[in-house]
């Protein structure tokens, strides 16, 4: 091993505004998270296989028993599958953060002269990109089993945009949970468990009018239903402006509440 670990050339950091570094540092960390994905192929494979299994089960097992007026069940189903997939996918945010804390990486980052926010924004950004990939895969799977979106390009782009906004908003909820609990395992189960009732007690897979009235009251007003209805309208060329605005309002509301909460949880978690 060489003894000389210094170099003569000056290692002068660049001077830019704090705002510049807020973005630049987040991008460095987002890139790092994305570099990891293909190196843990099993994680990506299983997180893609799961929604594919859902598509196949619902399409072929339940599909025949569920009649939808005006369209095929698979056309009805895909909006729900997309929403469920990006919402489940957002749990990787909290798990990733919990992992970085447990392994000591967050301590290293915090000892560097980088933007503090980058640990959170870098992670939520990379999970957004990851969800773009997952939506694309699910879109192809949908097409293979008979999904035929009727909306024009703008509507379809709007549907994808809304799904990504949902993914981003739920990533911040997931971040808050991942930072509030004390271990990776806890982040995993706490981040996941409540999403089952939320996504199933919604219009994702069946029409809410088939549910008992007490459940319907919940199902029709919760964000997943509003998002699924808005996305479904856009995909099937029957956009419902009210639903779209309500879905957007939910996403923005979630961000307004959970971005500061996640920042707070990060501060509390790392001050130990």
């Amino acid at each position: 091993m060489s003894r000389d670990v210094r170099i003569d050339e000056p290692l002068v950091p660049q001077t830019r505004s704090a705002l510049y570094w807020t973005f630049a540092d987040a991008l460095v960390l987002a890139k790092r998270n994305l570099t990891q994905i293909p190196r843990i192929p099993e994680e990506l494979i299983f997180s893609t296989i799961q929604p594919i299994i859902f598509v196949l089960l619902f399409r072929y097992v339940f599909g025949g028993a569920i009649a939808i007026q005006g369209t095929t069940y698979v056309n009805y189903l895909m909006a729900g599958i997309f929403a469920q997939t990006v919402i489940f996918g957002s749990t990787t945010t909290g798990i990733g953060l919990a992992n970085d804390i447990q392994k000591g990486l967050v301590d290293r980052f915090r000892s560097l002269p980088m933007a503090k926010s980058a640990v959170l924004t870098g992670r939520t950004l990379s999970d957004l990109v990851r969800n773009v990939f997952v939506v694309a895969v699910m879109w192809i799977v949908g097409l293979l089993v008979g999904f035929r979106p009727a909306g024009g390009f703008l509507y379809l782009a709007g549907a994808v945009g809304l799904l990504l906004l949902v993914s981003f908003a739920f990533s911040w909820i997931s971040a808050t949970i991942g930072l509030a609990v004390s271990s990776v395992e806890a982040a995993q189960s706490a981040g996941f468990i409540w999403l089952f009732p939320l996504t199933f007690a919604s219009s994702a897979f069946v029409q809410t009018k088939t549910m008992p009235s007490w459940l319907r009251a919940f199902a029709e007003h919760q964000p997943v239903t509003l998002v699924v209805d808005a996305v479904r309208g856009l995909l099937l060329d029957q956009p419902d402006a009210t639903k779209i605005w309500q879905a957007l309002a939910w996403c923005i509301g979630i961000l307004i509440v959970f971005v500061p909460l996640a920042v707070l949880a990060y501060g509390r978690r790392t001050a130990r």
Partner: protein
């Protein structure tokens, strides 16, 4: 800041509920020296490092590193320190090169300089062949070298090494000592926490022993060893051997008071240059026809420092300390 100490902590306090992790800790390290901080698990070593590296705010007290206040000037300070050791990790899915480049960018070096610096550090830490492999595939020693390299990206004037050799094999440990020595010879100030007296002895000019969040002893390695009594010869006299006669035979070699334990038939003799005297001690005992069950020459260990200073062992298990065994390697988990 030429005459200010590179690291100065005064009366640091940190409480977690009723636990006093730090209870008025004072530390000083002169520029260009190694300060060794010794203590068992839970003594407050890591808490002290976390405060000095801006990761944690003290409840009370004041600390300066490289002339900057660790609380008020935290942002400026982060550009002037490096942190490596058991908690500051590297990303195991990235390659060695990608890790160093990323950390360089997060130190706000330009992309080109970050890349060049990564290549340079990989060369200097003998990691060129492993540069393109994910860190997951590295050995413990390679990981620690990469970890240290990551803390040296901007050649900070002060670096903190939190138990840098815990868990390394003897060869890895020697290699790490080598690197640390060369850093210091180039003017870097190093704060090193360790559980091994031997490690502090090898590297540190000044050693502070801490327990319950306070400094309980400080000085050079030699001063501390004097405090704990230096080398000792331990004899266990066989059944039938006369303890009194044995005591008479070894007394000339003792430089202090000989402890006699009649129950275990053990004599503990403080000696100077014990290795050179072993042969004659054995000869004298043989001449006096005193049978020996066991004979050992002991150097003081961290356990001895603790036994002497606090009356309890440094390792958590209250077992009688086997001097050859290393202090507990258990990592405090968080």
């Amino acid at each position: 800041m030429s005459n200010r100490p590179a690291i100065l902590a005064e009366g640091l306090q940190k409480h977690y509920g009723k636990t006093h992790a730090l209870d008025g800790l004072d530390l000083v390290a002169e520029e260009g020296t190694v300060l060794g901080v010794l203590g068992p698990n839970g003594a407050g070593k890591t808490t002290a490092v976390r405060i000095l590296t801006t990761l944690l705010k003290p409840d009370a007290g004041h600390a300066e590193v490289a002339g900057l206040d660790v609380v008020k000037d935290a942002n400026a300070l982060r550009a002037r320190i490096g942190l490596a050791g058991q908690y500051a990790a590297v990303d195991e899915y990235l390659t060695g090169y990608e890790n160093l480049k990323m950390f360089g960018q997060l130190y706000h070096l330009s992309g080109a300089i970050a890349k060049r610096r990564a290549t340079e550090l990989l060369e200097r830490f003998d990691l060129v062949e492993a540069a393109g492999r994910p860190v997951k595939t590295y050995s413990g020693g390679m990981r620690r070298r990469l970890d240290l390299a990551a803390s040296l990206i901007v050649t900070p004037p002060v670096i903190f090494l939190d138990e840098p050799t815990t868990g390394l094999d003897p060869r890895g440990r020697l290699a790490m000592w080598d690197v640390i020595s060369s850093l210091v010879s180039e003017g870097t100030t190093v704060l090193l926490t360790t559980q091994y007296l031997e490690e502090a002895d090898q590297l540190a000019k000044q050693i502070m022993v801490i327990d319950h969040g306070r400094v309980i002893a400080k000085g050079t390695a030699d001063q501390l060893k004097e405090q704990v009594g230096g080398e000792r010869l331990e004899l266990t006299i066989g059944q039938g051997g006369n303890l009194e006669a044995a005591l008479q035979a070894v007394r000339p070699y003792s430089i202090g008071e000989v402890q006699v334990d009649k129950q275990t038939r053990r004599l503990v003799i403080p000696v100077a240059r014990g290795a050179q005297q072993l042969a004659t001690v054995i000869r004298d005992l043989a001449a006096a026809q005193i049978p020996l069950d066991d004979l050992a020459l002991r150097r003081p260990t961290l356990d001895d420092v603790f036994l002497t200073l606090t009356g309890r062992a440094a390792t958590e298990e209250g077992e009688p300390t086997d001097t050859k065994a290393e202090p507990s390697l258990a990592r405090s988990s968080r």
